[in-house]
Symmetry: C2
Subunit: 206 residues, 2 copies
């Protein structure tokens, strides 16, 4: 039979709990027991669904990718006619997401990859898939915007600019965590927007 999960099963509860707990405390400091109690599930259920803590880490990153990509796919910034407008609207959308508590708007995979890039290659790969996969959704629009302005000869690639947007966002989250507030992050996103406006020859707003 197929698995429509009308009722939330232990696996889903664990994955959702993982997103929250790991974003609060980091991956290593998140214990299996804590993950279980946050999910309202016993340890037996945990190791029934995941062979190890690391396997949950991979699944959590994949779950994060699925959740966020669904959210961005539905977002309104795609509706602009001009490709550059879509890119700028994406940035604005990202900025609008920076609200509430730090664990609510920071990135799970950005946090996890810092702790696991050397010790858990599977998790690192899952984090890379998440970040690079999301960046890839921007490439087409950036490429179209570049083509309209024959910027191809500049040596600058759409792929590299797409990755740069993610770097700025990840860095903005780190600064926000260090300073304990969201303002720095928003300000950095403003700089990113201004960069793209300047790059594509549009006069910055403010």
């Amino acid at each position: 039979m197929f698995r429509l999960a009308a009722k939330m099963d232990a696996r889903s509860k664990l994955l959702d709990a993982a997103l929250s707990v790991i974003r609060h405390k980091g991956y290593s400091a998140s214990t299996v027991d804590e993950l279980c109690s946050a999910a309202g599930v016993t340890k037996g259920a945990f190791f029934h669904h995941f062979k190890s803590k690391d396997e949950l880490g991979v699944a959590a990153a994949d779950h994060w990718s699925a959740t966020t990509s669904a959210m961005f796919a539905e977002a309104a910034y795609h509706r602009h006619a001009d490709p550059l407008d879509r890119v700028l609207a994406y940035i604005d959308f990202r900025k609008s997401l920076i609200t509430g508590g730090l664990p609510d708007f920071t990135c799970l995979v950005g946090t996890m990859v810092q702790e696991t890039y050397e010790t858990a290659p599977d998790i690192r790969d899952a984090c890379d898939r998440s970040i690079s996969g999301h960046a890839a959704t921007l490439v087409a629009d950036i490429e179209a915007a570049m083509a309209e302005r024959d910027m191809v000869a500049t040596g600058l690639t759409a792929q590299s600019l797409a990755l740069h947007t993610q770097a700025v966002l990840q860095g903005a989250f780190i600064l926000a965590k260090a300073k304990g507030g969201a303002d720095v992050a928003k300000s950095s996103v403003d700089h990113l927007r201004r960069y793209i406006e300047l790059l594509f020859g549009r006069t910055p707003a403010a």
Copy 2:
């Protein structure tokens, strides 16, 4: 008597070891035992110098600040006559540091703050001091460059641009860790340079 430390004492060895071990495995995953054996020191020495693991975390962040700030103070990028040239040379310098293995060029405090921003306020503050303090060393040059071009009215502040440079660097490190290579990071630093060139009305090189 004053403490000239002709011979490396246990405290210094522990701090140096901490920089290395934590950059490899993150803060939480770095155990006290491992820190000790990496430093060639016993556990007794550890808890003689530090009341707790968290206290070492704070000391490690401070030690990182001291080490890096000494290095940047001596660097050649200060020697340019024009303030904007100094800022751009700083960026080039940062890019030139991105070589070798990932644990060698990534940032200790950027790694630590992600794991501890909620659970260990003392460590978070130490990380903030390190990042914000380093950013502050750029403010004067950015301000001078802005003044020369009467950019003050734009609402853009030197402080915010200085912090943005750090955000880009931190984000570049995360991307590098995710992709397992330094190239993404360098590319992001190139974007940062181009932004500043465009912002200050200088034609980008490549």
